[in-house]
């Protein structure tokens, strides 16, 4: 064996003797993969095109998406629409919506513009919702991926860690963390991420455990890929669909958590959020119910929109499940 005796890898550009003549002579003509794709039913792997088509044919998901885009646009345009501090007293207190053209949605008990509050509140609520989800995703992936991939004692240790966090009711843990750390947008975001990551970690772990057993992971190991590359490049892309779906719902629950904190007076006192508006309007529930109802409606619709989008993504990214549901 001359080749194995030399041992050294052949240089990159050496092309060894071609055996193509014998191998492919007969197969060549019928082998245009484009033809192939047309002829065979598509293998149910979500690809950009198919997933997008499924999503754009789903009216509920589109409605959710449109509503979220509107909220997002409003949040971005807040400094333009209402350049003044939304916490500033600008008018007579407790003007009902529609009474005064200057304050279309009225004012609260301190004379603050409710419309300005809702618009600026959207910034805080969405920021906290998305950022907290990112924190939760990062932590969840960091714990769930190695637990699911390596198994064994690493899995046992990490699962214990997840269980410790899950043993305490999430919201109580959140209140404790925020109370200790002084409420600010940053601490609230981190705290919400800290109590929601175990959900992601469990999901990621389950996905990784299942995909680890697939033959293409075996194949990746056989050609010498390292663990990190297998985790990030081989398994993660295949585990993403359910994670994305869960993330969209997690944004909704993070918004709810932030609102609940603010309602309890544990929000960031320097910014207005939907939750803090409800909290402030609580005392006037009987006389000026619009103060709680308006931010409440906005929260409900945002959360609903995120859930509709999550459902739509689920159908689009997990075509098999979607197909079963249709039957």
């Amino acid at each position: 064996m001359s080749r194995s005796a030399s041992g050294a890898p052949a240089p990159a550009d050496t092309v060894r003797i071609r055996f193509q003549a014998a191998a492919s002579r007969k197969v060549a003509p019928a082998h245009d993969p484009v033809d192939q794709a047309r002829a065979r039913p598509a293998w149910p792997i979500p690809r950009g095109g198919r997933a997008r088509r499924t999503l754009t044919r789903n009216p509920a998901a589109l409605t959710g998406l449109a509503f979220l885009c509107a909220i997002l646009a409003t949040a971005c345009l807040a400094p333009v629409l209402y350049p003044d501090d939304p916490l500033g007293m600008v008018g007579r207190p407790l003007i009902w919506p529609g009474q005064d053209a200057e304050f279309p949605l009225g004012t609260d008990s301190l004379g603050r513009d409710v419309a300005a509050g809702l618009v600026h509140g959207a910034r805080v609520s969405l920021l906290v919702g998305i950022a907290a989800t990112v924190v939760g995703l990062a932590l969840g992936l960091a714990v769930g991926a190695p637990a699911g991939y390596f198994g064994g004692w690493i899995d046992r240790v990490l699962v214990r860690l997840i269980e410790i966090f899950q043993a305490v009711p999430a919201f109580i843990l959140l209140v404790v963390v925020v109370a200790i750390a002084q409420p600010s947008v940053t601490t609230i975001t981190i705290a919400i991420g800290l109590v929601t990551w175990p959900t992601i970690a469990r999901l990621v772990r389950a996905e990784f455990r299942a995909i680890r057993e697939k033959e293409f992971v075996m194949a990746a190991r056989s050609v010498g890929y390292g663990h990190l590359r297998i985790i990030l490049r081989e398994i993660l892309p295949n585990a993403l669909p359910p994670i994305i779906v869960t993330a969209s719902v997690m944004v909704a629950s993070a918004i709810l958590m932030e609102s609940a904190l603010a309602f309890m007076g544990l929000g960031d006192p320097n910014v207005v959020s939907w939750g803090s508006m409800i909290g402030a309007g609580r005392e006037h529930l009987r006389t000026a119910w619009y103060l709680t109802a308006l931010p409440g409606v906005v929260i409900v619709f945002t959360v609903l929109a995120l859930n509709l989008l999550g459902d739509g993504l689920n159908d689009a990214l997990n075509p098999r499940i979607a197909a079963e549901r249709r039957i």
């Binding site: 194995s4 052949a10 550009d13 055996f19 014998a22 190991r221 056989s222 050609v223």
Partner: protein
Amino acid sequence: MATLSVSDLHTHYRQRGATLRAVDGVSFTVEAGETVGLVGESGCGKSTLGKSLLRLIEPTSGRIEIDGTDMGRLLPKALAPIRRRLQMVFQDPFGSLNPRHTVGEILTGPLQVHGLRDRRARQQRAIAMLDRVGLPAASLTRYPHEFSGGQRQRLGIARALILEPDIIVCDEPVSALDLSIQAQILNLLGAAKAELGLSYLFISHDLSVVRYVADRILVMYLGRIVETGTHQSLWAQPRHPYTRALIDAVPGAGQGTGRAHLGGELPSARQRPAGCRFHARCPLATEQCEREEPTLRSFAPDSAVACHHAEL
């Protein structure tokens, strides 16, 4: 000189407190340029054996040597250059290619990991390899689901060949394919071997396929090799009753001559019978077979059988 040499390999699993001896003391060699066929029924441990060789499943004990270098003792870093000399073609052409990678990524990834830095050179090698296995260069940007089963198996072979290995473990490479495609893939493997001087360990449950491709055959039953022989001798004169039963069970082989088929089923490797592993299903079993486990006895070069009653 032996290219691959395996001695006393064991791979055991712990399963619900019991030990499953999937591979239970297997020794063999694969010489340079040789195709060794490994046949047995599902559950006999042949697939575990193949994966243990590449350490995709960690063997429990034993030696795996490539040209005298013991693979079993190497740390992952030192394993890399050895591993590229031993590659694998998998059974499932659908499951063994990552659905989210393009063919280009699938073929150039191994080169990148094994230190080929230049992106263009990797690309060129991938295109040359596609050409060799009979696929157009345009396949590079396509995803596995755009290909038929046979084409995907070509991709699997391309991935195994791109690192220029010496030995390829083919784990049921044509079992999932239609008959008319099987011949294409077998011919492709044959051509690759002829021109690159490869060796194959060809694992299959299909005796007719192994009969066509293998120079030497190992018959495995419940974690052990029960008979080895050359392709001239084994089919003509099987010595082990299990080998005989396997050959008889090939449908169409007897053309309905009313021969007796083997009774019973493969027992679980967890509750391995005492004595000869095959005695419960064996037509020749005697009391000796229940007590003593037969060892492989060599009766000709490249031929050995593990049966008390085999006529040597």
